[in-house]
């Protein structure tokens, strides 16, 4: 697949471009002396109360996991959507429709359950 060459070339070019900007600005820019106050995390000038890490709600983790599951289900719809037209003209459209219908029904059931079980609630 020849088309990979320009993709990689552009990726490398952009990465080099970005690196060049970062390096050049770090060379040109002034570097005043660092001190303790400056090194602290910026919190609008108030002295920091906690260190960088504190407990994060499990909600983020749950959202990410549910995202993966639904994302996989959506991915399966792409090959279906792209061949659906052909399947109709070739005479097995109803079968394709029914196959995805059942799948989407399970999808909707899952989504409905998530909503009912308050897994998607953010206070």
């Amino acid at each position: 697949m020849e088309e990979l060459v320009p993709i990689i070339a552009l990726g490398v070019f952009v990465a080099l471009f970005g690196t060049a900007i970062v390096v050049v600005t770090s060379l040109i820019g002034p570097k005043p002396k660092q001190n303790d106050v400056k090194d602290e995390a910026y919190e609008c000038g108030i002295p920091g109360q906690f260190s960088g890490h504190s407990k994060v709600p499990v909600k983020y983790y749950l959202t990410a996991i549910l995202f993966i599951l639904f994302d996989i289900e959506i991915i399966f719809m792409y090959p279906w959507a792209v061949t659906f037209g052909d399947s109709i003209t070739e005479g097995y459209g109803l079968q394709f429709l029914a196959a995805m219908g059942v799948f989407i029904f399970i999808f909707i059931f899952g989504l409905f359950w998530e909503v009912k079980s308050k897994a998607l609630e953010w206070e």
């Binding site: 970062v22 600005t25 400056k38 994060v56 659906f84 052909d86 995805m100």
Partner: protein
């Protein structure tokens, strides 16, 4: 990449040009944003430097270069520096896969004393056959830049901003991915060129063999997928963390979100990434629902013939036509980019739970409904 030297050269120049186009558009967009905001809020905005304040951007850029170099004391240096670079890549890779003008044909021509050609040149960085799926894949990598920035700064507000941003991005990625399924059902392809070609001419439906036409409307996807287009637009706003979905940068809660500790050029690179995503979203919207680079009712062959009748050479006519279509595409894109600015000063910011509710409980079911209805209608219309 090409069969001979000139084609490789053309393709390489094209790649760099498309990337620079994206980068160059950003200062102009920032200017539009500032002037537009000022216009909407009944004030002046930047108007001192150069005509209409246009030189303000140059002044800003120069200022950015001379900004102080700073890494937070507890931050991780490598990750802190890597994050803005990573932010640039997904937008650039995605934008280069979108066709910006029609494929034009170059007859053999003389160059450096040799004959080269003929060539068929796509006005796009590379033509990936799977178009939209490739773009979804590449732009899903955008989350890493935020995560790296949030963690590398070792600032809890940065980290929370990044986590929020990522949770929001992935929630709306579902609605974004699903809203396109309806369009794919209509077009039956992933390929952008084919999608755009199907939107040529006047609006005409084929319902069980009979053809119904509306001659005064173009055959654009928006008339087949109005709900899909709207869902896509809203999801794109959330994907790019723009108002009213700019929760990751909610100043009153999180200072400035994941880029709190960044300044100068590194900050600007995050902006480049964000505006790049906006540009990609607008370009996708134009390609899927608004006819891509096409002028309504006018095909590129007609314009080429017209230019040829003025006595221009074939190559010249083709190149000029491609340039005209490129301009049309950019104008369509800029209209949507203006909508981004407009919405920013029209709608207030959501609360975080409202945002997640909207993504999971409103957008996702509606996108599903859109998919189901489209599938049934397509089935009934074609059977």
């Amino acid at each position: 990449m090409g069969s001979d030297l000139v084609e490789v050269l053309i393709n390489s120049v094209k790649l760099v040009l498309i990337f620079l186009l994206m980068v160059q558009l950003v200062p102009i967009l920032v200017w539009v944003e500032r002037r537009g905001s000022a216009f909407i809020q009944n004030r002046y905005g930047p108007n001192r430097v150069g005509p209409f304040g246009l030189m303000q951007l140059l002044a800003d850029a120069v200022k950015f270069v001379f900004k102080e170099e700073f890494v937070p004391g507890k931050g991780h240096k490598l990750i802190f520096y890597a994050a803005p670079v990573v932010a640039l890549i997904p937008g650039a890779l995605a934008f280069a896969a979108i066709p910006l003008a029609n494929t034009f044909h170059l007859e053999p021509f003389m160059f450096l004393g040799e004959s080269w050609g003929p060539y068929d040149i796509n006005f796009q960085g590379y033509n990936v056959g799977i178009g939209i799926v490739f773009i979804l894949g590449v732009s899903s990598l955008g989350a890493y830049a935020l995560l790296l920035a949030g963690w590398g700064s070792a600032n809890k507000y940065s980290l929370y901003g990044a986590l929020r941003a990522v949770a929001q991005m992935i929630s709306y990625e579902l609605a974004l991915g699903l809203s396109i399924v309806g369009a794919i059902l209509v077009y039956n392809t992933f390929d952008f060129h084919s999608i755009i070609a199907q939107q040529a001419g006047a609006l005409s439906f084929t319902i069980s063999g009979r053809e119904l036409g509306i001659p005064f409307l173009p055959n654009w996807g928006i008339f087949y997928q109005p709900l899909g287009a709207f869902l896509f637009l809203v999801a794109a706003f959330a994907e790019t963390n723009r108002l009213p979905f700019d929760l990751p940068e909610a100043e009153s809660e999180l200072i400035a979100g994941f880029h709190t500790e960044y300044g100068g050029m590194k900050m600007l690179m995050f902006y480049l990434g964000e505006y790049g995503h906006m540009l990609v979203a607008s370009a996708l919207l134009v390609t899927f629902y608004f006819g891509g680079y096409q002028l309504p009712f006018v095909s590129h062959v007609m314009i080429e013939d017209m230019l040829k009748s003025f006595g221009l050479g074939i190559n010249m006519a083709n190149v000029l036509t491609a340039f005209l279509f490129f301009t049309v595409f950019m104008i369509k894109c800029l209209i949507f980019l203006w909508i981004y600015v407009w919405v920013r000063w029209t709608l207030p910011r959501f609360r975080y739970d409202q945002l997640m509710d909207l993504g999971w409980k409103t957008m996702l079911p509606w996108a599903l409904a859109n998919t189901i209805v489209t599938a049934v209608v397509v089935f009934l219309a074609r059977i």
